[in-house]
Every structure is written in C-alpha cells, then in structure tokens.
C-alpha cells in the first residue's frame, strides 16, 4: 500500500482494516489500531466477520456485506465488508453507531435548547424594543435615545433571524429524508422565494432577472416550504452582496435527470478558495478582513459576514431531496451558487407494491376472479 493511501486511511474517523482472503489483518488505520486484538498478520477477532470472509472466499457470498458487531460496554458497530484494492483482499469498514448516535443526541439537544430557551427570549426582546421605540417621542432631546432603541430592536430581530436559521438546521439534522412529495413547479418556486426576499430587494433596488425559466422545465418533488426556504436563502445572500440598483439572476435549465437553478449576483464575491468550506455550519464564505490585499481605491460597502449557517442549511435541504449545492464557475464579475435537484418523484425507498395497494387487491381478489371468469364465459 502506498504511503499516501495509508495516510489517507489514517485520517478517517471510521476504523478501516485491509484483510487477506483468509481474514488476517494486512493493514489497520490509526482508528482500527486502537481496537483490542488488532495486529498485523493475525485474524480479526470477530467470528462473524471471519465467517463472511470465508463465505466470500468460497464464492457463497459477494461484497458488499453488512453486519452488526456488539462489543463490550454496549459498543455497537456496523461492519461493512468490501472488495479490497487488489487480488483476494477485502476491506473492512467499522462505523461506531453508539458514538454517532451520541453525537446526534447532543446536537439535537443543543438545537432544542436554542429553540426553547433562547428563541422566546429574543422574540420578547425584539417585541419589547419595538414597543419602546414606538412609545418614545421623537424630540430634539429624545432623538438619540430613539435611535438607540431602534438599533437595539433591529439587532434583536437580526439575532432572532439567525437563531431561526440555527433551529431550522437543527430540525434537518435528524432527518434522513424529507417525507413530503409535493409537486413543485420551478417557475412557482422561484416566484415564491423571490417574494420572501422582496422587502430587502426593494429596499436595495435590486431586481430579479430570469433565464430559461419556463413551464417546460420538469417538476421536482419534495417539500415546497423547505425548497422555497433554501432558494430564498441563496437569493437573500445574492441581494445582500449586490450593490444598489443592480440585479440578481436566476438561470434554470435541465441537465439530464437534474434541474440546475443558478443564482448569480454581480456584487461582492466571496473569495472562491473558501467556497469549499462554505457549506459547513459556522463557516462564512466571506474573506477575513486581514487577508485582503491593500488597495488604494475607496472601500466599497461590504456585506456583513453571517454565522455561516445559511449555506449549510441550503446544502442540507438539497441533500434531503437527493440534490446538491455547488459553487458555479468563478467569474470576475459575478458569484454563482447552483442548486441541483433531481427531476420527477423520488425512487421508492422499498421497491414493490405498497402495502395499502396490496391489501386493496387482496380484499377484492375473489370478486375480481369471479368477474374475469364471467367475462371469459361470455366471450366463449
């Protein structure tokens, strides 16, 4: 095995073992070397895995094979046996389910805390500040105080919005798939999403222009509310990044079994080299102040860096629809984010006739057969 591949495997969190055709350890990555009983040249310590290895060797089974391994202290791992890199070798990947579940629980608890403990407080703060701002007389003396309260109200509302995004992201963490099958026409989706951002777009005098948006585009299936939220997030970012009296462009077209919705702005581009991290929660795509080259030109107004939750939210929504978010080809004059969504309805998770349909047939089967026989008799 090459040093580069060994380093790559060492960097992974899951335990990975390269086994000979007899189930002996040929290589174990850093995580796997910490497991008891793992040493080069000795058989793996799990009889069930050895049975599967033997089955593969004799041609009774073929990788990929998945098995559950229960260990000491409630440890539980999902083991996946795959074809190795060469010859009869096999690759064994162990995923610690308990650790993953614990991480998921902690994350869910955090988001629950944010939702229940903080959201109401910020909401109350924003409402109170609004009431105070309205109640204060705008006099020569009171003007400063009025401004302070108005600013406080705006900050509270901003915090509330950011918290809402965080809790939305939290809602999506525990989903494997959004169980909705609404038929979504893309022209309507774009109109709905633009309507959500129209207050800030109007304030900045930013217009929407569309390319390729027509009824001929195939529909997508999923959650109308979540996809509208995701597209609105991209549009809002684009509007905020655009200068006054500019435009945001949405380009829609079909690529095989996907539709691509490209949102372009012609304003302050996030620095492309940071794009790859932009989908991670709490990472912002905007370049830090100190990293920018000095310029003699007067500084343009900069968009404020957010928490970095928005793109993570969009990415998660798209993932749950079987799609992706990616950065469009970089250009000097614009920034583009592309939403890729599969066309048509999702493939059935379990192939075969749905239970309700099978039951409906079972109920009417006798009557069906009788009717078919009667029809045949008439035909004779």
């Amino acid at each position: 095995m090459s040093t580069a591949l060994a380093r790559f495997l060492d960097a992974l969190g899951d335990e990975i073992l390269l086994l000979t055709g007899e189930g002996r350890v040929r290589f174990a990555n850093r995580a796997a070397r910490e497991l008891p009983g793992i040493a080069a040249g000795v058989p793996v310590p799990w009889p069930e895995i050895l049975r599967h290895v033997e089955g593969v060797a004799h041609g009774y089974a073929r990788p990929p094979i998945t098995a559950s391994l229960d260990g000491e202290g409630g440890a539980h791992r999902t083991a996946t046996l795959l074809d190795g890199f060469a010859g009869q070798d096999l690759l064994l990947v162990l995923h610690d389910d308990v650790e993953a579940a614990a991480y998921r629980n902690v994350t869910e608890n955090l988001f629950q805390f944010l939702r229940t403990e903080l959201h109401a407080s910020f909401d109350a703060l924003a409402t109170s500040a609004e009431v105070v701002a309205k109640a204060l007389p705008v006099t020569q003396d009171g003007e400063t105080l009025h401004e302070i309260v108005t600013t406080a109200r705006a900050r509270a509302a901003e915090l509330e919005t950011r918290l809402e995004k965080l809790t939305l992201l939290g809602d999506l963490v525990s989903h494997d798939r959004l169980q909705t099958d609404e038929r979504i026409v893309l022209s309507e989706l774009i109109a709905q999403a633009w309507a959500r951002v129209s207050p800030i777009a109007q304030a900045a005098d930013v217009r929407l222009s569309t390319v390729g948006v027509s009824e001929a585009l195939p529909p997508v299936y999923g959650s109308d509310a979540w996809l509208t939220r995701a597209l609105a997030e991209l549009l809002e970012n684009a509007v905020r990044a655009s200068g006054r009296k500019t435009q945001v462009e949405v380009d829609a077209h079909q690529e095989s079994r996907y539709v691509h919705l490209t949102v372009r702005d012609f304003g302050h581009s996030p620095v492309p080299r940071r794009h790859g991290r932009a989908y991670l929660p709490f990472v912002t795509a905007l370049e830090p102040e100190s990293a920018k080259p000095p310029s003699k030109a007067p500084p343009a107004p900069k968009p404020k860096a957010g928490l970095g939750v928005g793109l993570a939210l969009v990415e998660r929504v798209l993932e749950l629809h079987g799609g992706h978010l990616r950065v469009g080809d970089p250009h000097d004059d614009c920034t583009a984010f592309v939403m890729e969504l599969p066309t048509g309805a999702p493939h059935a998770a379990v192939p075969g006739v749905q239970l309700e349909q099978a039951q409906r047939y079972a109920v009417d089967m006798a009557a069906l057969l009788a009717r078919q026989q009667a029809a045949k008799a008439v035909a004779r």
Binding site: D181, P218, P342, A345, H347, V353, Q357, D364, M365, K376
Partner: protein, 126 residues
C-alpha cells in the same frame, strides 16, 4: 374489438398487478417504466387507453406525459387515466388541466380499475 392499453408505472409489481387485472378478453397490454418511455410508446403504439402513474422518477411525471399526449394531434382519441397517490384537490385540478379523462386514487380497487377501463371503452365505441 381489441383494446390496446398502455401501463406507465415505475413500480414493476404494480404494473404486473394491473396487467393481471385487465388481461382477459380481447386486450393487448403494453408497459413502460417511466414517463419518457411511456410517451415514446404512446406515440409508437397509439393505444386506446393509457394508465398513467402521476409520481414517477425521471424527466417527465404523469401530468407532463398527459399534457403531451393530449396536445399531440396524432394521439387524438387516446384516453388517459391518471393513477394518483393522494387524490388531493390540487392534484385533481392539475390532472384536469393536463386533460386527463379519468383518475384512480391509490390504493385503488381492481374492480374500480376494470369499471373505469370498461367505461372508457364504451365511450370509444359510442
């Protein structure tokens, strides 16, 4: 009179069930597993009736296939029955806009299916 029926449905087992239900008497049944191939077969075979699932993966869903069949002059007279999973009013409205002749809400009874096909056959003869 031989009835020519095209079943467009992505679930193979349901296609078999529908075929089994209708395959008696003078009938010729064809199948397609997605919207694109369903439309292609409709143009090629010019069936009397198309049983069309609404929610299908791929580039065309049932509503779009129905619209294209109904707007194709060469397929005038082809009857379309939509097989819809929900039966919500918006779906029914969408089906009506697409020009469907009838619809069945899943899970549908095989007897309903036969009745619907017979009714459309009578309309064709009339």
């Amino acid at each position: 009179m031989t009835r020519k029926i095209l079943i467009v449905e992505d679930q193979a087992d349901l296609r078999k069930l529908v075929r089994m239900t209708l395959e008696y008497g003078d009938v010729e049944i064809h199948e397609a597993a997605d919207g694109q191939s369903g439309l292609h077969k409709a143009r090629e075979l010019r069936p009397d009736i198309v049983l069309l699932d609404v929610m299908m993966p791929g580039e065309l869903d049932g509503f779009q296939v129905c619209e294209r069949i109904k707007s194709d002059k060469l397929l005038a007279g082809v009857h379309v029955v939509l097989l819809t999973a929900r039966g919500q009013q918006t779906d029914l409205d969408q089906g009506a806009r697409a020009g469907c002749d009838a619809y069945l809400v899943k899970p549908f009874s095989p007897l309903e299916l036969i009745d619907k096909v017979d009714e459309l056959t009578r309309r064709m003869v009339a």
